[in-house]
Amino acid sequence: MLQIDHLYKNYGKFQAVNDLTLHIPKGDLFGFVGPNGAGKTTTIRMVCGLMLPAAGGIMINGVNALLHQKEIKKQIGYVPDFFGVYDNLKVKEYMDFYGSMYRMSSREIERISDDLLELVNLSDKKEVFVDTLSRGMKQRLCVARALIHNPALLVLDEPNSGLDPRARVEMKELLLNLQSMGKTIVISSHILSELSEMCNSIGIMDHGNLMAAGRIEEVMEGVFGSNQLIITLDSGRETAIRVAMEYPGVKISSAGEQEIRLSHTMTKEEIAKMIGAMIANDVVVTGFHKQEGNLETLFMRVTGKEEGGQEHVAESNR
């Protein structure tokens, strides 16, 4: 759906986007994560045709976005981070205005905007003036507006900024609903917990570089490693380490008084055998589990804000 190849953008000497290559398949809900100034908005603006890259290519549905602007505009729906509305314009007129910008007939606009307003839960606000809506409602209306021409790709830049918790939940539900309808969605956000709940793939940017990208579980696996085991114990630490080291491919990552972290290449059966051997050697094992990462720790590690972060990313990228 969206293919970005070696994209560069600079503002004077500042490199905003540096050699960004990214592929987002059709139907994905892709989360763009990164600190302020990472280059997310710049990338989004280039994808939407609001900015010209210094170098590189953008293909949307197989169409070159830099050469065929008119065609691309039909394929993209854009929701910016900050946007205003027109005074003295009703919700249905707002939809009509943007629909007619795509040269849609009045009848078509009316039919589609009825459906969209229902989708975003604003069907009872059709006759209400847009400037009187709450921020959350305006945001949902903006999403409906971006969908009026039935674009294949929906791009949202920080859609949840400034929204109250309820409006955020509504927005999340709306986006999941749209994804289930087959829309490809690109969303940038700072709220990592929300992204992890709805996105199936992510891209982490920092200082203009794409640090990691792909399916969330794949990125996690790449960064944290798939075979991290945490064993908690009451006593017998030394024995436990000795037993563990007897198994092939086991490396002790850390060993505390009551917790041992290790990486391994064992099968489930071998893990069970190892734990059994520890118990047989009088180690009091109180529990063991596979290490699970979350988006926050992933982000911190990838952007190098957690110890060993950059090394992990380099390793996972290899």
């Binding site: 603006r45 939407c48 045709g49 609001l50 900050f82 007129e93 007619s100 795509y102 903006c142």
Partner: protein, 301 residues
């Protein structure tokens, strides 16, 4: 029929606002005031004259028409100068640029809105203007002439405003720049004629060369809004060409001079109109290019 959505939206939104009502009220008030002042002056002038007052009343037409054109010339750039920068300030510009509309159709929509509004004002002033025709002495065709000139003034002023709006980030800067453009057109087009005349007068005074009027430098006046309007009203009121009279002041213009052909008949008005339209169109193209974020330039792939 597809109506530019920007025109449709802007007209709808502005018609709901009280601003437009107050605007029309102020416009009519100014015209009425000018009308009564002009009537008083005419009446005073004819008090001790044997001339028929009705022959003097025809001058109400140019007085009211000039007043309207001046108002349009002042107001239209203000409206268009804030149109693109206003969208940017309102943060609706980016959304607009990602829709199916081309930059030129966005610019055209903004200009058309300004023209529609100004013509709305002109039409609203018709009852006052009609008084000039009720009294007699004026043909109704002059009314349509006036509408045509008002339309041209609106298009020209709007194109200046929209260009400045595309160049400036803030509305106030765009408005100021629009008036600077006006000065360039009013003064800049008159400058070659007067500079040439002064230089030639000095050379002649110093006995370096016989005085050469260089009447062809008056061709720059083709793009001077003031000369255009004066030519129009002199033509309407007396049937003569102001430019022809002006360029013949010295009586030295040769028939072979280009100015003598251009100033004959209605050619000055026709050529000047075409030039103003061409300049307006090029301003619109420049503005459209200016707002287009993806300008045609090479991107290394």
């Amino acid at each position: 029929m597809w109506l530019n959505p920007i025109v449709k939206r802007d007209v709808r939104v502005q018609s709901r606002s009280m601003k437009i009502c107050w605007g029309v009220f102020a416009y009519e008030l100014i015209l009425s005031f000018v009308f009564f002042v002009a009537m008083m002056v005419i009446e005073q002038g004819n008090r001790y004259s044997t001339n028929n007052i009705y022959s003097a009343l025809v001058w109400l037409y140019p007085v009211l028409a000039v007043t309207q054109l001046i108002i349009l010339g002042i107001v239209v750039p203000v409206r268009t100068a804030s149109s693109i920068s206003g969208e940017k300030e309102r943060q609706t510009f980016d959304i607009m640029m990602t829709t199916g509309m081309t930059p030129f159709s966005i610019i055209l929509g903004k200009v058309m809105t300004a023209v529609v509004q100004s013509m709305f004002f002109v039409v609203a002033s018709m009852p006052v203007m009609a008084l000039c025709f009720v009294i007699g002495g004026m043909s109704i065709s002059y009314l349509f002439w006036f509408l045509g000139v008002a339309l041209l003034v609106s298009v020209f002023s709007a194109s200046i405003g929209i260009l400045c709006s595309s160049l400036c980030k803030r509305s106030i800067s765009a408005v100021i720049m629009s008036y600077v453009f006006y000065i360039v057109f009013f003064v800049g087009t008159a400058a070659p004629f007067f500079i040439y005349a002064i230089v030639e007068a000095r050379r002649s005074y110093q006995g370096m060369a016989p005085y050469n009027h260089g009447e062809n430098t008056a061709l720059f006046f083709l793009l001077n809004p003031a000369v255009y309007l004066i030519e129009f009203f002199v033509k309407v009121m007396s049937g003569e060409s102001f430019v022809s009279i002006f360029s013949n002041l010295t009586g030295t213009v040769q028939k072979k001079e280009l100015i003598s052909y251009v100033a004959s008949g209605n050619w000055w008005m026709i050529i000047s109109t075409v030039l103003f339209l061409a300049v307006s169109f090029s301003f619109l193209l420049l503005a459209a290019r200016r707002i287009n974020p993806i300008k045609k330039r090479k991107v290394k792939v």
